[in-house]
Symmetry: C4
Subunit: 219 residues, 4 copies
């Protein structure tokens, strides 16, 4: 089971590359091991070309290395904090994708002016605090911002994006869609103000997408 | 015949990917079955990598699933409405391509300031209404906007693009060209006002392109 | 010899695709047949995927089809006019590449604010007139603008780019570099005014690049 | 050993292509031969498709060709000057990547408003002087700007980027990350002012990244 999860998490990093969400080694995917206080995550500073299922490391929920020959991602503490405090989350993704990070650099949430944003995020994509790496501050910022929020993506100020999901694949989907809408809303605002969508319409779109879309297994 | 159409519609989704018109599963192509009150369309929430001709589903013109193991695209009702009300249309495409969706988010038509726009669209690319998914409102907005209009593409407000064509391939071409001109006119306007093209010149270009260009089988 | 030229011109279209200079079928390369009043050019409306050396057609310098099963590019008259009036030109390329076409839509020449522009174009990339397809107006505009000008690229107003070269490959290089500098200067100007380069420095850079760069066979 | 270095430097050019840092032949990587007053570098005007380890040329630290059939890159004098004056540098990269060159065209350093910039560059990416090719002016500008500076990248005014590293791979990583942050900060500034990061936080991030990140062999 843990080997299957390693294969899946390894494979999902290729989606970060395909959608141009990452440069060099700057982005990572993790997945919770079902039924255990463990998760698997990318090793630190390893090229996406060189990732193999065997190179994916296993950590406990304090972020300590449990299995693997390489050091875990330098973002491991943030992933671990999310898994400790959000039991419904089984996948976490971190990127510095260009447009989302640009909103984060200005310290602005992305307003919900696209039906695709209402579908996927249920409203704006919120801004989290500025936090330094090295302790639990980033993890705390993610959990504080996303708890009770519809959005599965948070823009960490001056930093980048963290997304969460019921599965690693759902978290990767949120990272892909976050950059997609970050770019479209940016482009829209370059030449004027996007038209707002009424809150009632956002609610209706979000409710429908969460309950009707796809083949009932898309998360 | 229906199997050949499924192969064609499956294959055309790869063009949406190639031209970066779609993220994750957000975009679909359909094609009318010649001589029957049926069309084929992408199944809902399926990755473009995983699409096969067999996975393409068949619907009747009310959007009901007639053949196939998967649920049809969540945009099926809009495609069905177009086929019911525009008998000359044999292909429909829907995307959230970045630049076209940005014009749609501001609620602006794309002005015709490029000879390639005059060729392909015969003038501006018009704006359709804001409409929620779940009934015929999107389909009505597409048909009301494009009926009697030269453009084969409509920007649905705060949403994305729908294009139509004499064939699925022609509708895909319109989606590709719509994003291409949406981007070029956006970039032009970032640094000033594009020069207008006189209406008489737009008319001459449109007439020539529709009647002279290509090998007489490009639609 | 003509077959070798067809293979070369066929192959060079792949460079237009690789550098994202063309959408669908909107761009073409031609090459003069050495020692004969003929040139080879892309057939009209054919996908770049489907181009083969055999599909490349042969025309005389009035643009009439001399050999080939398909109609020549709808831009053939402009290519022919250039070959008739600029005997030193052996290759012509036409694209609607995004950033160059955006400058053309505003009717602005691209100012020389990059050493790479001074190297390759010897100064600004000039603007040509608005001209309709269907007679010699486009060809006349290209020749009038580029004759006596260092630049091997011209922005045709509201339209796109034509480039010329001592060979088809040199004309393709000019098309690639034209879009590259059009994009960089656009991006620079989005956030302020680029610094000018002194005319004497432009002259020195141009002179050096034309005479020193490469392996003496790069054109 | 020199053959292994040639293979590595040849291979690293593919990273410039993969990350869209170069158009046509405009960009080059070099690497110092360990223990000798020599370095290897791309030949001038050769396509990245055609680069082979054998085509990579060997030069002495005055930039004279020592081994190889082709002329060395026209930027060889700048590389040689860096190797002569910065003994800790074992790799040099030069590109005209779009966003970095746009900052260079305006003559602006890139401000440090992203944690990834603090990590990798330790603060702003500085501006070097305008300098013509043909003598040691470019090399002098690089060395004068980067000596005593944390950044391993310099924006040469109206020109492009030079990056240095403990290895050719480290210099390529700096070139990739330079363009990545140049783009993100550009995009951020298009819609307002990015928030500053306090100098103490920049220092902490830089210190941590240089000493903790990766598998201790990422340079």
């Amino acid at each position: 089971m843990i080997d299957e999860l390693r294969r899946e998490v390894c494979r999902l990093h290729a989606e970060l590359v395909r959608y141009n969400l990452v440069a060099w080694t700057a982005g990572n995917v993790s997945g919770r091991v079902p039924g255990e206080d463990l998760f698997v995550i990318k090793p630190s500073g390893v090229s996406y070309d060189d990732l193999t299922p065997e190179s994916i490391v296993v950590c406990d929920l304090d972020g300590n290395l449990v299995e693997g020959d390489l050091s875990p991602s330098s973002d491991t503490a943030a992933h671990a904090y999310v898994y400790r405090h959000m039991p419904e989350v089984n996948g976490v993704v971190h990127t510095h994708s260009t447009y989302a990070s640009a909103w984060a650099a200005r310290g602005e949430a992305i307003p919900c002016v696209l039906t695709a944003m209402a579908d996927e995020f249920g409203g704006e994509i919120p801004l989290g605090p500025f936090a330094l790496i090295g302790n639990d501050d980033i993890g705390k910022g993610i959990v504080a911002t996303l708890t009770g929020h519809r959005s599965r993506a948070v823009l960490m100020q001056n930093h980048g994006v963290f997304t969460i999901g019921e599965s690693p694949k759902a978290a990767v989907k949120a990272a892909v869609m976050c950059e997609d809408v970050a770019r479209t809303v940016h482009v829209a605002r370059q030449l004027g103000e996007p038209l707002p969508i009424a809150q009632g319409d956002i609610d209706r779109l979000y409710d429908r997408y969460q309950n009707v879309y796809g083949q009932r297994s898309h998360l």
